[in-house]
Protein backbone atom coordinates (compact mmCIF):
# COMPACT_ATOMS: atom_id res chain seq x y z
CA UNK A 1 0.00 0.00 0.00
CA UNK A 2 1.66 3.20 -1.14
CA UNK A 3 2.16 6.05 1.31
CA UNK A 4 4.04 9.31 1.27
CA UNK A 5 5.85 8.74 4.51
CA UNK A 6 9.49 9.66 4.88
CA UNK A 7 10.38 6.20 6.02
CA UNK A 8 8.72 3.58 3.89
CA UNK A 9 8.72 -0.14 4.47
CA UNK A 10 9.76 -2.70 1.91
CA UNK A 11 10.55 -6.38 1.72
CA UNK A 12 13.57 -8.01 0.18
CA UNK A 13 12.28 -11.08 -1.61
CA UNK A 14 15.40 -12.78 -0.27
CA UNK A 15 13.22 -13.27 2.80
CA UNK A 16 11.07 -15.76 0.88
CA UNK A 17 13.88 -17.86 -0.55
CA UNK A 18 12.60 -21.17 0.81
CA UNK A 19 9.13 -20.55 -0.56
CA UNK A 20 10.71 -20.03 -3.95
CA UNK A 21 13.32 -22.81 -3.76
CA UNK A 22 10.70 -25.37 -2.77
CA UNK A 23 8.19 -24.05 -5.34
CA UNK A 24 5.52 -22.97 -2.87
CA UNK A 25 5.44 -19.50 -4.35
CA UNK A 26 6.70 -18.11 -7.63
CA UNK A 27 7.86 -14.53 -8.15
CA UNK A 28 4.28 -13.29 -8.17
CA UNK A 29 3.51 -15.18 -4.98
CA UNK A 30 6.52 -13.62 -3.26
CA UNK A 31 5.44 -10.15 -4.35
CA UNK A 32 1.93 -10.90 -3.12
CA UNK A 33 3.41 -11.99 0.22
CA UNK A 34 5.36 -8.74 0.51
CA UNK A 35 2.35 -6.61 -0.42
CA UNK A 36 0.19 -8.59 1.98
CA UNK A 37 2.57 -7.86 4.84
CA UNK A 38 1.75 -4.19 4.38
CA UNK A 39 5.01 -3.27 2.66
CA UNK A 40 5.07 -0.83 -0.21
CA UNK A 41 8.49 -1.56 -1.67
CA UNK A 42 10.06 -4.59 -3.30
CA UNK A 43 13.72 -5.55 -3.40
CA UNK A 44 14.51 -8.30 -5.86
CA UNK A 45 17.49 -10.54 -6.43
CA UNK A 46 17.56 -10.91 -10.19
CA UNK A 47 19.86 -13.91 -9.72
CA UNK A 48 17.18 -15.69 -7.69
CA UNK A 49 13.76 -14.86 -8.95
CA UNK A 50 14.09 -13.69 -12.52
CA UNK A 51 14.32 -17.03 -14.27
CA UNK A 52 15.63 -15.59 -17.54
CA UNK A 53 18.49 -13.76 -15.84
CA UNK A 54 21.00 -12.46 -16.98
CA UNK A 55 18.60 -11.36 -19.71
CA UNK A 56 15.53 -9.27 -19.09
CA UNK A 57 13.11 -9.29 -21.95
CA UNK A 58 10.58 -6.59 -22.63
CA UNK A 59 7.91 -9.17 -21.87
CA UNK A 60 9.38 -9.63 -18.42
CA UNK A 61 9.53 -5.88 -17.85
CA UNK A 62 5.85 -5.60 -18.76
CA UNK A 63 4.96 -8.45 -16.44
CA UNK A 64 7.03 -6.87 -13.67
CA UNK A 65 5.38 -3.49 -14.02
CA UNK A 66 2.03 -5.20 -14.15
CA UNK A 67 2.80 -6.95 -10.87
CA UNK A 68 3.81 -3.66 -9.25
CA UNK A 69 0.47 -2.18 -10.30
CA UNK A 70 -1.59 -5.19 -9.30
CA UNK A 71 -0.06 -5.44 -5.82
CA UNK A 72 0.12 -1.69 -5.22
CA UNK A 73 3.83 -1.73 -4.55
CA UNK A 74 6.89 -0.19 -6.14
CA UNK A 75 10.24 -1.59 -7.14
CA UNK A 76 12.95 -0.29 -4.84
CA UNK A 77 16.17 -2.14 -5.14
CA UNK A 78 17.90 -4.79 -7.21
CA UNK A 79 20.83 -6.73 -5.78
CA UNK A 80 24.16 -6.66 -7.57
CA UNK A 81 26.71 -9.43 -7.23
CA UNK A 82 30.36 -9.47 -8.12
CA UNK A 83 31.08 -12.98 -9.36
CA UNK A 84 34.67 -12.33 -10.21
CA UNK A 85 35.77 -15.93 -9.55
CA UNK A 86 33.85 -16.95 -12.62
CA UNK A 87 36.08 -19.85 -13.60
CA UNK A 88 38.08 -22.41 -11.72
CA UNK A 89 41.46 -21.03 -12.65
CA UNK A 90 40.65 -17.65 -14.05
CA UNK A 91 38.86 -14.59 -12.82
CA UNK A 92 37.01 -11.80 -14.51
CA UNK A 93 39.23 -8.89 -15.38
CA UNK A 94 38.32 -5.46 -14.07
CA UNK A 95 36.88 -4.68 -17.49
CA UNK A 96 34.74 -7.79 -17.43
CA UNK A 97 33.56 -7.15 -13.90
CA UNK A 98 32.67 -3.63 -14.95
CA UNK A 99 30.60 -5.05 -17.80
CA UNK A 100 28.73 -7.32 -15.43
CA UNK A 101 28.12 -4.55 -12.94
CA UNK A 102 26.77 -2.40 -15.77
CA UNK A 103 24.43 -5.27 -16.61
CA UNK A 104 22.95 -5.19 -13.09
CA UNK A 105 22.58 -1.40 -13.18
CA UNK A 106 20.84 -1.49 -16.55
CA UNK A 107 18.59 -4.24 -15.27
CA UNK A 108 17.68 -2.11 -12.27
CA UNK A 109 16.77 0.73 -14.61
CA UNK A 110 14.70 -1.56 -16.83
CA UNK A 111 12.74 -2.72 -13.82
CA UNK A 112 12.31 0.80 -12.49
CA UNK A 113 14.50 0.33 -9.40
CA UNK A 114 16.14 3.56 -8.30
CA UNK A 115 18.69 1.69 -6.20
CA UNK A 116 21.18 -1.09 -6.74
CA UNK A 117 22.59 -2.78 -3.67
CA UNK A 118 26.17 -2.84 -4.91
CA UNK A 119 28.42 -5.56 -3.58
CA UNK A 120 31.32 -3.29 -2.78
CA UNK A 121 34.65 -4.62 -1.72
CA UNK A 122 34.18 -3.78 1.96
CA UNK A 123 30.63 -5.18 2.24
CA UNK A 124 31.59 -7.54 5.03
CA UNK A 125 34.90 -5.89 5.86
CA UNK A 126 38.15 -7.08 4.44
CA UNK A 127 39.89 -10.41 4.48
CA UNK A 128 36.87 -12.70 4.08
CA UNK A 129 35.92 -12.45 0.41
CA UNK A 130 38.14 -14.65 -1.71
CA UNK A 131 38.24 -12.13 -4.56
CA UNK A 132 38.30 -8.41 -5.01
CA UNK A 133 34.69 -7.33 -5.24
CA UNK A 134 33.48 -4.07 -6.70
CA UNK A 135 36.15 -1.71 -5.49
CA UNK A 136 36.50 2.06 -5.58
CA UNK A 137 38.01 2.00 -9.03
CA UNK A 138 35.08 0.00 -10.39
CA UNK A 139 32.57 2.22 -8.67
CA UNK A 140 34.28 5.25 -10.17
CA UNK A 141 33.82 3.70 -13.63
CA UNK A 142 30.18 2.91 -12.89
CA UNK A 143 29.26 6.38 -11.67
CA UNK A 144 28.70 7.95 -15.11
CA UNK A 145 26.32 5.12 -16.06
CA UNK A 146 24.47 5.48 -12.77
CA UNK A 147 24.26 9.24 -13.25
CA UNK A 148 22.94 8.76 -16.77
CA UNK A 149 20.33 6.21 -15.69
CA UNK A 150 19.56 7.79 -12.33
CA UNK A 151 20.40 4.67 -10.35
CA UNK A 152 21.87 4.97 -6.86
CA UNK A 153 24.53 2.50 -5.79
CA UNK A 154 23.92 1.54 -2.18
CA UNK A 155 27.00 0.36 -0.32
CA UNK A 156 25.62 -2.24 2.03
CA UNK A 157 27.55 -1.95 5.26
CA UNK A 158 27.13 -5.36 6.84
CA UNK A 159 28.52 -6.69 10.11
CA UNK A 160 31.32 -6.79 11.06
CA UNK A 161 31.49 -3.31 9.48
CA UNK A 162 29.31 -0.35 10.31
CA UNK A 163 28.14 2.68 8.38
CA UNK A 164 30.81 4.84 9.99
CA UNK A 165 33.64 2.47 9.24
CA UNK A 166 36.19 4.53 7.34
CA UNK A 167 36.67 1.73 4.81
CA UNK A 168 33.52 2.88 3.01
CA UNK A 169 34.60 6.52 2.73
CA UNK A 170 36.71 6.36 -0.43
CA UNK A 171 33.56 5.46 -2.39
CA UNK A 172 31.77 8.58 -1.22
CA UNK A 173 34.84 10.66 -1.94
CA UNK A 174 35.10 9.52 -5.52
CA UNK A 175 31.45 10.41 -6.10
CA UNK A 176 32.06 13.83 -4.65
CA UNK A 177 35.17 14.23 -6.76
CA UNK A 178 33.21 13.44 -9.92
CA UNK A 179 30.24 15.49 -8.80
CA UNK A 180 28.05 12.41 -9.32
CA UNK A 181 26.14 11.73 -6.12
CA UNK A 182 25.12 8.20 -7.12
CA UNK A 183 26.73 6.18 -4.43
CA UNK A 184 25.63 6.19 -0.80
CA UNK A 185 25.64 4.21 2.41
CA UNK A 186 23.19 1.44 3.19
CA UNK A 187 22.80 0.26 6.76
CA UNK A 188 22.19 -3.39 7.47
CA UNK A 189 20.87 -4.12 10.96
CA UNK A 190 23.39 -6.92 11.33
CA UNK A 191 25.62 -4.15 12.68
CA UNK A 192 23.20 -3.71 15.57
CA UNK A 193 23.05 -7.26 16.90
CA UNK A 194 23.57 -7.19 20.66
CA UNK A 195 23.58 -10.96 21.00
CA UNK A 196 23.24 -13.89 18.66
CA UNK A 197 19.74 -14.94 17.74
CA UNK A 198 18.20 -18.08 19.15
CA UNK A 199 17.40 -18.99 15.53
CA UNK A 200 20.95 -20.25 15.21
CA UNK A 201 21.15 -22.21 18.42
CA UNK A 202 19.32 -25.26 17.13
CA UNK A 203 21.55 -25.56 14.09
CA UNK A 204 24.72 -25.04 16.11
CA UNK A 205 23.61 -27.72 18.56
CA UNK A 206 22.86 -30.05 15.65
CA UNK A 207 26.40 -29.36 14.47
CA UNK A 208 27.70 -30.50 17.84
CA UNK A 209 27.75 -27.40 20.03
CA UNK A 210 26.61 -27.48 23.65
CA UNK A 211 23.17 -25.97 24.09
CA UNK A 212 23.74 -24.90 27.72
CA UNK A 213 26.88 -23.00 26.80
CA UNK A 214 25.21 -21.21 23.91
CA UNK A 215 22.33 -20.14 26.12
CA UNK A 216 24.69 -19.04 28.86
CA UNK A 217 26.76 -16.89 26.49
CA UNK A 218 23.65 -15.49 24.87
CA UNK A 219 22.09 -14.64 28.21
CA UNK A 220 25.31 -12.93 29.28
CA UNK A 221 25.23 -10.87 26.09
CA UNK A 222 21.64 -9.88 26.76
CA UNK A 223 22.29 -9.06 30.39
CA UNK A 224 25.18 -6.82 29.45
CA UNK A 225 23.14 -5.09 26.75
CA UNK A 226 20.11 -4.43 28.92
CA UNK A 227 22.34 -3.26 31.78
CA UNK A 228 23.89 -0.80 29.38
CA UNK A 229 27.38 -2.20 29.69
CA UNK A 230 29.59 -3.59 26.98
CA UNK A 231 29.76 -7.35 26.66
CA UNK A 232 33.29 -8.61 27.14
CA UNK A 233 33.61 -12.28 26.45
CA UNK A 234 36.82 -12.55 28.45
CA UNK A 235 34.87 -11.70 31.58
CA UNK A 236 32.74 -14.85 31.32
CA UNK A 237 35.33 -17.04 29.66
CA UNK A 238 36.30 -18.78 32.91
CA UNK A 239 32.65 -19.65 33.53
CA UNK A 240 32.32 -21.08 30.03
CA UNK A 241 35.47 -23.14 30.62
CA UNK A 242 33.84 -24.70 33.67
CA UNK A 243 31.03 -25.91 31.39
CA UNK A 244 33.48 -28.09 29.45
CA UNK A 245 33.17 -26.66 25.95
CA UNK A 246 33.90 -29.18 23.22
CA UNK A 247 35.79 -28.56 19.99
CA UNK A 248 32.72 -27.34 18.14
CA UNK A 249 31.99 -24.84 20.91
CA UNK A 250 35.56 -23.59 20.75
CA UNK A 251 35.26 -23.08 17.02
CA UNK A 252 31.90 -21.32 17.24
CA UNK A 253 32.36 -19.16 20.33
CA UNK A 254 34.93 -16.68 18.99
CA UNK A 255 32.55 -15.94 16.12
CA UNK A 256 29.28 -15.55 18.00
CA UNK A 257 30.72 -14.01 21.15
CA UNK A 258 31.84 -10.94 19.24
CA UNK A 259 28.40 -9.36 19.03
CA UNK A 260 28.01 -5.84 20.22
CA UNK A 261 25.70 -3.28 18.68
CA UNK A 262 27.06 -0.32 16.77
CA UNK A 263 26.22 3.10 18.12
CA UNK A 264 22.64 4.36 17.83
CA UNK A 265 23.96 7.91 18.12
CA UNK A 266 26.10 7.39 15.05
CA UNK A 267 23.16 5.86 13.24
CA UNK A 268 21.08 8.92 14.08
CA UNK A 269 23.88 11.18 12.87
CA UNK A 270 24.20 9.30 9.58
CA UNK A 271 20.49 8.67 9.09
CA UNK A 272 19.69 11.53 6.76
CA UNK A 273 22.56 10.53 4.49
CA UNK A 274 21.65 6.85 4.17
CA UNK A 275 20.24 5.77 0.82
CA UNK A 276 18.80 2.41 1.83
CA UNK A 277 18.36 0.20 4.89
CA UNK A 278 18.10 -3.54 5.41
CA UNK A 279 15.88 -4.54 8.30
CA UNK A 280 17.78 -7.74 8.94
CA UNK A 281 16.28 -10.22 11.41
CA UNK A 282 16.46 -13.85 12.36
CA UNK A 283 13.82 -14.55 14.97
CA UNK A 284 11.47 -13.01 17.51
CA UNK A 285 11.38 -13.36 21.28
CA UNK A 286 8.30 -14.13 23.36
CA UNK A 287 7.33 -10.45 23.33
CA UNK A 288 7.32 -10.17 19.57
CA UNK A 289 10.61 -8.25 19.56
CA UNK A 290 13.45 -9.21 17.26
CA UNK A 291 15.49 -11.40 19.58
CA UNK A 292 18.94 -9.92 19.04
CA UNK A 293 18.49 -6.42 17.59
CA UNK A 294 16.90 -3.56 19.49
CA UNK A 295 14.41 -2.50 16.84
CA UNK A 296 12.76 0.28 18.88
CA UNK A 297 16.16 1.92 19.42
CA UNK A 298 17.39 1.37 15.87
CA UNK A 299 14.24 2.69 14.25
CA UNK A 300 14.10 5.61 16.67
CA UNK A 301 17.61 6.59 15.65
CA UNK A 302 16.69 6.43 11.97
CA UNK A 303 13.51 8.41 12.49
CA UNK A 304 15.02 11.05 14.71
CA UNK A 305 18.01 11.31 12.42
CA UNK A 306 15.71 12.14 9.53
CA UNK A 307 16.15 9.07 7.35
CA UNK A 308 14.15 9.32 4.16
CA UNK A 309 13.79 6.11 2.23
CA UNK A 310 13.05 2.44 2.52
CA UNK A 311 13.70 -0.04 5.27
CA UNK A 312 13.25 -3.48 3.80
CA UNK A 313 12.63 -6.64 5.79
CA UNK A 314 15.50 -9.04 5.26
CA UNK A 315 14.62 -12.30 6.98
CA UNK A 316 17.59 -14.58 7.38
CA UNK A 317 16.39 -17.02 10.03
CA UNK A 318 15.35 -19.51 7.34
CA UNK A 319 18.98 -20.42 6.78
CA UNK A 320 19.56 -21.40 10.39
CA UNK A 321 16.29 -23.24 10.90
CA UNK A 322 15.33 -24.91 7.61
CA UNK A 323 17.58 -27.92 8.06
CA UNK A 324 14.94 -29.44 10.32
CA UNK A 325 11.76 -28.36 8.62
CA UNK A 326 9.65 -25.71 7.09
CA UNK A 327 10.26 -22.11 8.20
CA UNK A 328 7.21 -19.94 7.71
CA UNK A 329 8.93 -16.98 6.09
CA UNK A 330 5.66 -15.29 5.17
CA UNK A 331 4.59 -15.27 8.79
CA UNK A 332 7.99 -14.00 9.94
CA UNK A 333 7.93 -11.09 7.51
CA UNK A 334 4.34 -10.27 8.37
CA UNK A 335 5.25 -9.95 12.06
CA UNK A 336 8.38 -8.02 11.20
CA UNK A 337 6.50 -5.45 9.18
CA UNK A 338 3.98 -5.06 11.99
CA UNK A 339 6.81 -4.58 14.49
CA UNK A 340 8.47 -1.93 12.33
CA UNK A 341 5.17 -0.11 11.88
CA UNK A 342 4.77 -0.20 15.66
CA UNK A 343 8.23 1.21 16.25
CA UNK A 344 7.64 3.96 13.71
CA UNK A 345 4.24 4.85 15.10
CA UNK A 346 2.43 3.85 11.91
CA UNK A 347 -0.16 1.75 13.67
CA UNK A 348 -1.57 4.47 15.90
Amino acid sequence: MKTNRDIKLGVSLYSYQDNYYFHKHDLEGCIAAAAGSGAEGIEVFADSMIAEWPYITDAFVDKWNGLMARYGVEQVCLDHFADRAMWKNKQLSDDQLFERSSMYIKAARKLGCSTVRILHNEHIGTGFSPVRLTDVKEVERLLPLCAELGVMMALECHAPTTIDDSIHEPYLEVAEKLGMPFVGLQADFSSYEYCFSKAGIGMMVRQGATEEILHFVRNSQREAYFNGVPFVYDEIKHLVEKMNPNEVDRKILPRIAKKSPASYETLKKYASKLVYVHGKFFDFDENGQVDNIDYPKVLQALQEGGYKGYISSEFEGNRSMNDIGWVDEIEYVRKHQALMRDCLGYNG
Binding site: M1, K24, H25, A32, G36, Y71, R334
Partner: protein, 131 residues
Protein backbone atom coordinates in the same frame (compact mmCIF):
# COMPACT_ATOMS: atom_id res chain seq x y z
CA UNK B 1 -7.57 -41.47 -1.96
CA UNK B 2 -4.65 -39.07 -1.43
CA UNK B 3 -6.67 -37.50 1.38
CA UNK B 4 -3.65 -35.84 3.02
CA UNK B 5 -2.62 -34.26 -0.25
CA UNK B 6 -5.75 -32.83 -1.83
CA UNK B 7 -5.20 -29.51 -0.04
CA UNK B 8 -1.82 -27.98 -0.88
CA UNK B 9 0.09 -24.99 0.42
CA UNK B 10 1.39 -24.18 -3.03
CA UNK B 11 0.31 -20.76 -4.25
CA UNK B 12 -1.87 -20.28 -1.20
CA UNK B 13 -2.46 -16.54 -1.13
CA UNK B 14 -4.59 -13.51 -1.53
CA UNK B 15 -5.68 -12.43 -4.98
CA UNK B 16 -5.22 -8.78 -5.82
CA UNK B 17 -6.52 -6.33 -8.36
CA UNK B 18 -5.33 -2.76 -8.67
CA UNK B 19 -3.60 -2.75 -5.31
CA UNK B 20 -6.55 -4.24 -3.42
CA UNK B 21 -7.26 -7.71 -2.17
CA UNK B 22 -10.32 -9.14 -3.88
CA UNK B 23 -10.15 -12.74 -2.73
CA UNK B 24 -7.89 -15.63 -1.93
CA UNK B 25 -7.04 -18.91 -3.52
CA UNK B 26 -5.94 -22.44 -2.79
CA UNK B 27 -4.67 -25.18 -5.06
CA UNK B 28 -6.20 -28.64 -4.86
CA UNK B 29 -5.08 -32.01 -6.11
CA UNK B 30 -7.44 -34.76 -7.15
CA UNK B 31 -8.62 -37.54 -4.82
CA UNK B 32 -8.41 -40.31 -7.40
CA UNK B 33 -5.90 -42.34 -9.38
CA UNK B 34 -6.68 -40.59 -12.65
CA UNK B 35 -7.76 -37.22 -13.94
CA UNK B 36 -11.47 -36.49 -14.27
CA UNK B 37 -13.53 -34.05 -16.30
CA UNK B 38 -14.37 -30.96 -14.25
CA UNK B 39 -18.02 -31.87 -14.58
CA UNK B 40 -17.31 -35.02 -12.52
CA UNK B 41 -16.51 -32.87 -9.50
CA UNK B 42 -19.42 -33.58 -7.22
CA UNK B 43 -18.48 -31.15 -4.48
CA UNK B 44 -15.74 -28.83 -3.35
CA UNK B 45 -16.60 -27.63 0.14
CA UNK B 46 -14.25 -25.30 1.98
CA UNK B 47 -14.27 -24.22 5.57
CA UNK B 48 -11.88 -21.50 6.67
CA UNK B 49 -11.32 -20.97 10.40
CA UNK B 50 -14.48 -22.89 11.07
CA UNK B 51 -16.60 -20.84 8.71
CA UNK B 52 -18.16 -22.35 5.60
CA UNK B 53 -17.22 -20.70 2.34
CA UNK B 54 -20.27 -19.77 0.29
CA UNK B 55 -20.11 -21.87 -2.91
CA UNK B 56 -21.44 -18.86 -4.81
CA UNK B 57 -18.19 -17.03 -4.01
CA UNK B 58 -15.98 -19.71 -5.45
CA UNK B 59 -14.46 -19.78 -8.90
CA UNK B 60 -12.41 -22.57 -10.42
CA UNK B 61 -9.38 -21.69 -12.50
CA UNK B 62 -8.42 -24.27 -15.07
CA UNK B 63 -6.00 -24.00 -17.99
CA UNK B 64 -6.24 -20.25 -18.29
CA UNK B 65 -10.00 -20.09 -17.90
CA UNK B 66 -12.16 -19.35 -14.93
CA UNK B 67 -15.56 -20.83 -14.14
CA UNK B 68 -17.90 -20.03 -11.29
CA UNK B 69 -17.83 -23.14 -9.13
CA UNK B 70 -21.59 -23.54 -9.42
CA UNK B 71 -21.17 -23.56 -13.20
CA UNK B 72 -19.10 -26.73 -13.27
CA UNK B 73 -21.81 -28.51 -11.28
CA UNK B 74 -24.41 -27.79 -13.94
CA UNK B 75 -25.71 -30.43 -16.28
CA UNK B 76 -24.17 -30.34 -19.75
CA UNK B 77 -21.01 -28.55 -18.60
CA UNK B 78 -18.34 -29.58 -21.16
CA UNK B 79 -16.95 -33.06 -20.66
CA UNK B 80 -13.53 -32.45 -22.12
CA UNK B 81 -12.00 -30.12 -19.50
CA UNK B 82 -9.91 -32.55 -17.53
CA UNK B 83 -8.57 -31.95 -14.07
CA UNK B 84 -5.29 -33.62 -14.88
CA UNK B 85 -3.97 -36.32 -12.55
CA UNK B 86 -1.27 -34.85 -10.30
CA UNK B 87 -1.95 -31.26 -11.39
CA UNK B 88 -3.44 -28.53 -9.30
CA UNK B 89 -6.87 -27.04 -9.67
CA UNK B 90 -7.03 -23.50 -8.36
CA UNK B 91 -10.06 -22.44 -6.40
CA UNK B 92 -10.42 -18.74 -5.75
CA UNK B 93 -12.81 -17.36 -3.20
CA UNK B 94 -13.99 -13.89 -4.15
CA UNK B 95 -13.99 -11.72 -1.06
CA UNK B 96 -13.51 -8.02 -0.57
CA UNK B 97 -10.23 -7.45 1.32
CA UNK B 98 -9.33 -11.09 0.90
CA UNK B 99 -8.12 -13.01 3.90
CA UNK B 100 -5.78 -11.76 6.63
CA UNK B 101 -2.22 -12.70 5.73
CA UNK B 102 -0.94 -15.56 7.85
CA UNK B 103 -2.12 -18.89 9.14
CA UNK B 104 -5.66 -20.15 8.82
CA UNK B 105 -7.29 -23.46 9.50
CA UNK B 106 -8.65 -24.79 6.23
CA UNK B 107 -10.86 -27.81 5.78
CA UNK B 108 -11.61 -29.23 2.38
CA UNK B 109 -14.15 -31.80 1.39
CA UNK B 110 -13.68 -32.97 -2.15
CA UNK B 111 -16.10 -35.38 -3.76
CA UNK B 112 -15.73 -36.77 -7.27
CA UNK B 113 -17.89 -39.05 -9.38
CA UNK B 114 -16.16 -41.98 -10.97
CA UNK B 115 -16.87 -44.63 -13.50
CA UNK B 116 -17.48 -47.82 -11.55
CA UNK B 117 -17.24 -46.79 -7.91
CA UNK B 118 -19.70 -44.62 -6.03
CA UNK B 119 -18.93 -40.93 -5.53
CA UNK B 120 -15.88 -40.75 -3.29
CA UNK B 121 -15.34 -38.01 -0.81
CA UNK B 122 -11.98 -37.07 0.69
CA UNK B 123 -11.46 -34.70 3.56
CA UNK B 124 -8.35 -32.79 4.48
CA UNK B 125 -7.72 -30.25 7.19
CA UNK B 126 -4.56 -28.19 7.39
CA UNK B 127 -3.17 -25.00 8.78
CA UNK B 128 -2.18 -23.02 5.73
CA UNK B 129 -0.25 -19.77 5.51
CA UNK B 130 -1.93 -17.39 3.12
CA UNK B 131 0.49 -14.95 1.52
Amino acid sequence: MYDNHILTDVGCRNVWENGKKVGYGVNLKINYYRGLPLCCVDEIALEVDGEKVDPADMVVQHRGREYPYLEILKDDFPTDFYWVFGEMLRVVIKKENGIAQGRHQVKLKLATRRSYTPTMSATCEKTLTFA
